[in-house]
Amino acid sequence: MNNFFQNLLSLKIFFKNSTLRSRIITWFSAISILPLIWIAFITYEMTKQTLINVETGNLKGLSSCKTHTIELFFKEKDKAVIVLAQDSNVINIMKNSKEYFSKFGKIIPLESLKNNISSLKYTGALLDFYNFYFINKSGEVVFSILPSELVSKNLLKLEIEEGELDDIFLQSKNMLETSISNFTYFNPSEPPSSFISTPIISDGRLIGVLIAQINNHEIYNIITNYDGLGLSGETILVTKTGNDLYSQTPLRHANDKNYMHLIPEGTPFSNFVEEILDGKTQVSNVIDYRGVESLMSGNYLLPALNWGIITKIDMQELLNPIEKLKILTLLLALTTSIVVIFIGTNVANNITHPILVLTKKTRLMAAGDLSQHIVLEGDDELTRLAESFNEMATKLNLLIQHLDFRVAERTTEVEDKNIELTQIIQELKKTQDRLINQEKLASLGSLTAGIAHEIKNPLNFINNFAELSLQIDKDIEGLLDKIKDQLSEEDRTTMQEYLDVLRININKINEHGKRADSIVRNMLQHSRGSTGEIEPVNINEIINEYISLSYHGMRAQDPTFNVKIEKELDPTIPIISIVVPEINRVLLNILNNAYYSVHQKAKQTSNYQPIVKVSTLYDKNNIYIKIWDNGLGISEKIISKLFTPFFTTKPTGEGTGLGLSLSYNIVVYGHNGNILVNSKLGDYAEFIIVLPLKG
């Protein structure tokens, strides 16, 4: 059982793992061969059954026919002896022989019954009887037509049972019926013969019993007629004597001259015979006396004799025609399987080949080659599959091309955005720097305001007291003049000298105090928010005014100062609302720086024409004031610190470092404008003041 399941499992695995091709072939073979085998098997079994049924009917018919003939035979004998028993010859013989026997105790001489005997002999021969026995009522054989060992013996006292002679005698005597004995070897018959007895009744009285020995040739002829029984079939009469079973007719396959055969006990054959003699009609497959399997049909006949008749035929002969069928079927199955495997292979190929092609193409497609196309002939499902594959491939191809285009489009878009983003980031960075600067400036501004405020008071003291001291010095000089005569020359001179020194000192204090005061005031102005009124002005006018003002201011400080001033002022410039003093200061600051720069450069360089260019222009939002000079220029490092308070490149004492810081505050915070710087070190510097038209 375990094995069986393992096999089943391996079969299952085979079917799971095997290719479609082998599966198709297997299924093909199974589907075609299994029904063939199945039908062959059923046909074989059915045919076998039919053959057996037909033969059974045949055997039964033959059996029935032979039974009938045998019964008829005995019936004829029956009638014959009944007729004979009433024959005058028989009655005569019986009467005389009986009388003679009872008188003399021996057989009557033949001569006395000569006529009767010859007549009876003739009738007997005609009716196929061998011999006639005459028995008196006490069972003594008082006469026989032919000489016999039975003569003058009592049948009821026979030592050897001769064909149940006593039984048939009693039956005839008591029941007044004819009765037939079983077969027995008895002279003069060579084969076993049987006896028939009948009462002899004369004038209504039973005078004896006639027993006739029957010539059984006819029965043997019937039995050994094998018509319709083929080469192996035969008919057998069986009987039971005592406990022994006998077959009492010649056996076809026994190869001896014997008529009677003992059937060995305990064999299937003897069991079969026993059943027959028990009155059962039987048809079955039995091993016969030779040990050969035979189909036997048997039935009971002649209850008085306890006979059975069996007709049989060898199974081998019976099944011979279908053995041929078996071989034929086998051959058919074999050839069919070859054809089926061939066809199956072909069909499998037809199915799997396109699939393989499809697989290959699909793989190619998967590898990226979308130009695949399958060509299949015919108009089946696979061709349709191929068509749809082709359609799919084409569509896929189109789709992918379209996709490429879209991707390029998007890439460009993204690149543009990237550039934009970079710009925005740069701007953001700039704004961030500016914001940081503004914050720094704001904090410095407030710090400066605090410091200026604190310094202003002591500075006032210094200035006031310096002026006061100067007054006192003058007073002392006047006083000295008055007392100069009282003093020695020497003392006076010394005193004068001291007074002069003191005056110089006080003046210096006063001068530097005033300068400090100016610085502080500037600082305070720086920190102070816009205080002035906003008023509409023409910026060109202011610029003109301040160019000359600052120029003259420079000239006043250093008469060697020289500059070429170029003005490109746009006359159409619109009126702008600004806090005028503040913008003035910005302009002044920047112009001063420009002059200073060109002046310094002129000191260092010969053959140099210092130029300061001032121009105004505008657009719809802003007014632009450009102040350009070809002075020293500003290094890049410094540009970022330009607007930091107290940062200056001028030597100490010449600048406070607050000018540009203040200008930046005014323009950026006061007017929401801007100051841009372009410069190349040693070449030029340009400041652009941007003022919004709508403040």
């Binding site: 039974t67 008829l72 007044l176 009744i201 009285r205 009155g279």
Partner: protein, 419 residues
């Protein structure tokens, strides 16, 4: 394959069941080609009238056999449907019943049907309608019909053994007493011939006619004057009862009586059964027969019917159905003519022993048994034939022509059995 799991299981189950179906088709003879039919069988048994007590037993036995056969699967798979008609112990009604069953119902086989008058008339109806009749009752013999199967006892199965028994046991002088009917007359002829052949003496022959008045007493008086060694009694049931009563009355109980016509049913009806004690009766079958087949039959019969008595005819009726079944099964035809052919030499193990049909198939080889009545209505079997006895419709002691003429003569002034 793209089937889901339950579908695949279902598919395999389908394939499996188809294979099982095919195998079973080949292995077992499934009757799909031959539709199971119902075989109608006719039953004619009187439930009213003077025969009812006897025929009810036979009907019970017939129905028992039918039920047993149906329970065992019927005949070739066909169920038997009994269709019963009660002729009320009337001869004309019996004839009518045979006509109705064989013609109107188209029934092929009829069981029962006691024949009171003319066998030829019955035979003609059966022949016309192509049917068979199995009759389980005692018969005079002297008739051979292609349509009537005589399952009952023939005279030669009763008379010669009985006389032989008497000659051996009681002696050679006989007196006959019988009712005035063909059976008695035929039996008397036969008994006469046999006794004569054996050189016995017949001291008297009494025929009792209805109304009996005191004819039985007269006969017994005569018998008492010249008592035989044995009295052979062919009186019908009622007459027998009276006869035994008178015998007792005249203190003639010492003379043995052998009765040929009393059945079990009669015994049941007798008020004083002791009258019968010691007398003999000859039949094929007695209920207390000690064989395995009989024990089973008696057990089943008593369980099946509401009576516990089985007589010779009931056993014959039981055997009839089985013999008919065997004839069909052996040769496969239900058609009456084929059944008749098949009946030849058919054997059946009846409760009484082996029954073999004759070469012509219309009589049965049967055993003979002589029983002696014991107290409490019991029968002791004291003799039995060694082999079944061949039925001779025409006993060979006379020619067939003699017998036929004789029967014709006996029937000529006979008005029918009324008991």
């Amino acid at each position: 394959m793209g089937w889901c799991r339950p579908m695949r299981i279902l598919l395999w189950l389908l394939i499996l069941s188809i294979i099982i179906f095919q195998v079973s088709l080949a292995l077992f003879d499934i009757p799909i080609f031959a539709k199971p039919k119902q075989i109608k069988v006719g039953l004619i048994f009187s439930k009213k009238g003077f025969r009812s007590s006897k025929e009810i037993l036979s009907e019970n036995a017939t129905l028992l056999a039918i039920e047993e056969i149906n329970n065992a699967g019927g005949i070739q798979g066909n169920r038997l449907i009994p269709i019963s008609i009660d002729p009320e112990s009337d001869w004309d009604k019996t004839l009518k019943a045979i006509e109705i069953l064989s013609n109107d119902y188209q029934i092929d086989v009829i069981f029962g049907g006691w024949i009171s008058k003319d066998y030829n008339e019955v035979s003609k109806i059966l022949e016309k309608n192509n049917a068979l009749l199995f009759t389980p009752y005692q018969v005079e013999g002297i008739i051979e019909s292609d349509r009537i199967i005589f399952m009952g006892t023939t005279p030669n199965q009763q008379v010669p053994p009985a006389i032989n028994f008497c000659l051996e046991k009681f002696g050679t002088t006989f007196t006959f007493i019988g009712s005035n009917n063909p059976y008695t007359k035929i039996a008397n002829v036969m008994m006469n011939d046999i006794i004569n052949a054996h050189e016995g003496k017949i001291l008297g022959e009494f025929i009792i006619s209805d109304p009996i008045n005191n004819s039985i007493e007269k006969a017994v008086k005569e018998i008492k004057k010249n008592p035989p060694k044995v009295i052979l009694n062919t009186l019908t049931s009622t007459h027998t009862v009276e006869f035994f009563r008178v015998l007792r009355e005249f203190s003639l109980k010492d003379v043995p009586v052998i009765s040929f016509c009393i059945g079990g049913a009669l015994q049941n009806r007798i008020e004083n059964i002791d009258d019968f004690e010691g007398s003999y009766t000859i039949w094929n079958y007695f209920q207390n027969l000690e064989t395995e087949d009989n024990a089973l039959f008696v057990k089943n019969y008593i369980k099946f019917s509401d009576t516990n008595i089985i007589d010779n005819a009931a056993e014959s009726a039981y055997a009839s159905v089985y013999i008919w079944k065997k004839a069909i099964e052996d040769f496969g035809h239900i058609d009456p003519l084929n059944v008749l052919q098949s009946l030849r030499n058919i054997t059946f193990h009846a409760p009484e022993g082996l029954i073999t049909m004759t070469m012509k198939g219309n009589y049965a080889w049967r055993y003979s048994r002589i029983g002696q009545m014991k107290p409490k209505n019991e029968v002791q079997i004291i003799w039995q034939s060694s082999d079944p006895i061949r039925p001779y419709p025409y006993y060979t002691i006379r020619t067939q022509q003699d017998w036929n003429d004789m029967l014709k003569f006996f029937y000529s002034d006979f008005t029918g059995y009324n008991e």
